[in-house]
């Protein structure tokens, strides 16, 4: 089936403005008759819940943490992009649009990216009005820095805690609505199913994580803003609770999963140590503004103290290979380049899976105090984890799974193929294509939540009658029974392996076979292993405790059960995409000098998969992508 993204046609510069004018409105007095469920209160969901509440809708919002302020958006360090052109270095909405389309390796929808670039400027204004303490210069103007994949300084930041500050902004707006009773907040609730009535999304089934009770909630529309799924790799930069559960359950109810194979491997994480590790920690990419990346030229030097390796014996491979972007090459390119150096036997550190990120030149140039001011907290964090001082010797970094560009398929209105089901932020597939540039996920989350969904959801609301289906509808009961059934089953297995052990097993298969580089053989190997681990899970997992209490093992087991199904679809997507693009690198498809080779003739589409049952092949639907404003070209950062 060919999918229609419903993007507006005509000149792109006015596409969003024209579209907004053409959309239907909901009369303010009618808004309160509608109830909207918002699952997830990170940047995307928090902003959406606050704004929809403020507009007058009845909003119920859900998160699995104890407070919306703890959503994983909080971990973002580096910054958020906007096309303000405050530094007058040639930025514009068009340039941000262009960089994003190109950065995503031409696998995103142009109109959505345009809209993102356009509203990026409103986001900064909005956050400043909320009191987000962005960095300023002495005269009082906002400060900017640059990020991977861009040659202009368009990134706004709040020390190394930009995500936290933006989230606190959204959380404060949300708090205000909770106080005003337009939003009802349900914390420590995990959505475990989507309720679909006659093909339309009408509610959700949750588990109350404190009492274990299974609860039903009806809504005239459901918004999923549940973040990313790269914990399918077990070790990743995501928080421990990040999962595919919400979007996977929606997939099982008929929503299409788009481009799940596009996962971003971030180049600047602290390398793994030991085998008991539970997560990998990201060091903000902004470090690459001042840090130079290198490995020793000769493998024999790798064991030496870095400061004893002479300048001429160092290989600044990013500067060598990509002279115009240098250390600021985009993430997929920088990650792969690091892996190449390590595969070549020139990796550093105990595991030889590391490259240096060196600040000596920057410290010599601007002095340590300024570096400290720019990145101090990152140096502290690095020292806590590695016991090494990054000012005195270069840091060691290595790529790690970080971000999911894929997610549920949505049209231009952020609505999935299930009417009434909207998906925002990292949970959808829309704007990043095959690779996300730095500082653009925060931008997308807030764009979707503050400035897109309030308009587009009205179009849908204006077409339905509010409150027609409530919790007494049989579909709610059916869904709750299914959820209970799965929980009881997991608790009854009483096998020998812990959830953690099985998650590690899945993770190692995903990293080895579906990680930074994939081949036909590795993907087929994964497709054999995943069902085996899934089988073992359903026959040999040991989940302690009961259903009717706070039970973290049970929570983890449910998330793993979903990953074990989702992983298979992700791998199938990777196998079917016979090209290399962005975060998806198929070793069979590369140029002579090892760069990704896209195949626009055959693969210029979003792959949207329809789930057909665990043991059946999913069905592929394609949304062809048209590039009318940015010419399809080989993506070069040389």
């Amino acid at each position: 089936m060919i999918l229609d993204g419903k993007a507006p046609t005509g000149p792109i510069e006015t596409s969003w403005d024209r579209h907004r004018f053409d959309m239907k409105l909901v009369n303010p007095a009618n808004k309160r008759k509608f109830k909207i469920l918002v699952v997830g209160t990170g940047l995307a969901g928090g902003a959406a819940a606050a704004t929809l509440g403020e507009l007058g809708y009845n909003v119920e919002a859900f998160c699995y943490q104890d407070s919306p302020r703890r959503a994983h958006s909080i971990a973002a360090q580096g910054g958020i992009n906007a096309a303000k052109n405050y530094p007058s270095d040639g930025d514009s909405i068009y340039r941000l649009f262009y960089d994003t389309v190109k950065g995503g390796d031409f696998r995103a929808r142009e109109a959505d990216v345009w809209r993102l670039a356009q509203v990026s400027n409103n986001i900064i204004d909005q956050c400043v009005a909320q009191g987000v303490p962005f960095a300023r210069d002495y005269a009082g103007y906002l400060d900017n820095r640059s990020f991977g994949g861009a040659q202009v300084s368009r990134t706004f930041y709040a020390r190394g805690q930009t995500g936290q500050q933006l989230l606190l902004g959204a959380y404060s707006a949300l708090s205000r609505q909770i106080k005003n009773k337009t939003v009802k907040m349900f914390a420590r609730r995990e959505m475990l199913d989507l309720v679909v009535v006659d093909g339309v999304a009408k509610g959700i089934t949750c588990r109350n994580l404190i009492t274990g009770e299974i609860e039903s909630y009806w809504g005239d529309a459901v918004i999923l803003a549940t973040g990313g799924f790269v914990n399918v790799f077990y070790l990743s930069t995501n928080a421990m609770g990040c999962s595919a559960t919400a979007i996977w359950k929606a997939t099982k109810k008929g929503a299409y999963m788009a481009n799940p194979c596009y996962t971003q491997i971030h180049p600047t994480c602290i390398p793994q140590h030991g085998d008991k590790q539970s997560k990998l920690t990201l060091m903000s990419e902004s470090l690459r503004n001042d840090g130079r990346v290198w490995v020793p030229k000769r493998a024999e030097d790798c064991g030496k103290h870095p400061n004893q390796i002479a300048e001429e014996d160092r290989d600044y491979y990013l500067e060598r290979k990509y002279p115009s972007f240098g250390n600021l090459a985009p993430r997929d390119i920088a990650s792969r380049a690091a892996k190449e150096q390590c595969d070549d036997g020139r990796g550093v550190g105990d595991t030889k899976r590391g490259v240096y990120l060196d600040f000596q030149a920057a410290i010599d140039r601007v002095g340590q105090p300024l570096i400290q001011q720019r990145y101090g907290n990152l140096f502290d964090m690095y020292e806590k984890i590695t016991d090494e001082n990054g000012y005195e010797r270069p840091m060691r970094i290595y790529p790690a799974p970080h971000y999911s560009m894929g997610g549920l398929w949505v049209d231009y209105h952020c609505m999935s193929n299930i009417p009434g089901l909207f998906v925002l932020g990292e949970a959808n597939f829309s704007v990043h294509g095959a690779n996300r540039l730095g500082a653009s996920a925060l931008m997308q989350g807030l764009a979707d939540g503050y400035f897109v969904i309030p308009y587009t959801i009205a179009q849908y609301m204006a077409s339905i009658t509010p409150g027609q289906i409530k919790e007494d509808h049989p579909e709610f009961k059916k869904s709750a029974e299914e959820v209970k059934g799965q929980i009881d089953k997991m608790l009854s297995i009483k096998g020998k392996k812990t959830v953690g052990e099985l998650h590690r097993e899945l993770g190692s298969v995903m990293w080895e076979d579906v990680g930074m580089a994939r081949s036909d053989a590795s993907l087929k190997h994964a497709l054999q292993r995943i069902p085996e681990i899934r089988d073992e899970f359903w026959n040999n997992v040991n989940v302690t405790g009961t259903a009717g209490e706070l039970n973290q093992q049970l929570e983890n087991a449910g998330r793993l059960a979903d990953f074990l199904e989702f992983a298979e679809m992700m791998t199938k997507d990777a196998l079917h995409r016979e090209e290399s693009c962005g975060g998806h690198f198929r070793t069979e498809h590369q140029t002579e000098d090892g760069e990704a080779m896209r195949d626009d003739e055959n693969f210029c589409y979003a792959a949207a998969w329809e789930f057909k049952g665990v043991d059946n092949e999913p069905e592929l639907h394609k949304e062809p992508l048209k590039f009318e404003n940015v010419k399809l070209a080989v993506r070069s950062y040389k």
Binding site: A50, T51, Q65, D66, S67, P68, R69, R70, H72, I74, A75, K84, Y86, D125, Q126, V128, A129, Q130, G131, P133, F134, R136, D137, A139, G140, Y141, L142, A158, R159, Q165, L168, Y171, S172, A173, S175, K179, A187, I210, A239, M240, G241, K276, S278, M381, K384, I385, D387, Y450, F451, P454, K496, T498, G500, N542, T544, G545, E549, L550, Q552, Q553
Partner: protein, 250 residues
């Protein structure tokens, strides 16, 4: 290294709770404290026991979810460090470690080491925001904020809402937490119009939620993983007094 852990176990709010002793074996100095507990839990599960419940999420020191009192100190003995960022190299072979939940009237225990901190959200809902609508705001550079003011606001804004300050305070006061938000918004032009109302509403909320009073013990600052300074409490006090003086507009 090998360690002996004494962990607070409590099935639910009504349960009495007690310390139980476990051994943590072959702990690597590079592990984080929570990774060490994960291992202990894996052993507990395998021996058919209930694993220790504790709150955590980001494991990066930023979400504020983790919350354990370790050897009598919230987040443990290392300065400016959350539990999830505490590494086992801070301990020695043979150490005995006491692990307990946050203790404060406003934070009822839910299970084991997990407490309910929603009272902090209630304080925020009382006024921890600048009331601006989405859209229709001025250009960001129309409001000039000098670097020292922006830095001061940012110093205050770094609070992660973990509640260690409350757990450390002999009065279970939430003053440091509240002062950070009040101070951040009080110095910024965006927050000024509501400053009087905010400080009054938020200080009332901390009492309503069952937090104690501040009597200047400074334990909060010592326990805070983000280095939030007690100078913000002084700022909150000044803002409070200022708010009591009738303004000519009212």
């Amino acid at each position: 290294m090998n360690l002996t852990l004494h962990v607070w176990r409590q099935k639910g709010p009504q349960d009495k709770g007690k310390l139980e002793t476990y051994q943590a074996k072959d702990v690597s100095p590079d592990e984080s404290f929570l990774e060490m507990l994960d291992e202990v839990n894996d052993h507990l599960i395998k021996s058919g026991k209930d694993p220790i419940a504790f709150d955590h999420d980001c494991r990066e020191g930023i979400c504020g979810m983790c919350s354990q009192v370790i050897n009598g100190r919230p987040h443990g003995q290392q300065e400016l460090t959350t539990v999830c960022q505490l590494h086992m190299r801070q301990f020695k072979d043979g150490d005995e470690i006491f692990i307990e939940p946050w203790r404060a009237r406003a934070f009822p225990i839910i299970k084991d080491l997990i407490v309910d901190r929603s009272a902090l959200d209630a304080v925020m809902q009382a006024g921890g925001y600048a009331s601006c609508h989405t859209g229709g705001v001025a250009d960001a550079n129309d409001l000039l904020i000098g670097k020292p003011v922006a830095d001061y606001a940012m110093d205050a804004a770094e609070c992660i809402g973990c509640g260690a300050c409350v757990a450390a305070c002999p009065n279970s006061s939430a003053m440091l937490f509240t002062s950070a938000k009040v101070a951040q918004l009080a110095v910024l032009p965006q927050g000024k119009p509501e400053a009087r109302r905010r400080v009054q509403a938020m200080t009332k909320a901390i009492l309503d939620e069952g937090f104690g009073n501040c009597t200047n013990h400074y334990e909060c600052e010592a326990a805070c993983p983000k280095g939030i300074s007690v100078k913000f409490i002084a700022k909150l006090n000044r803002e409070y007094i200022k708010s009591m003086v009738p303004s000519s507009a009212e």
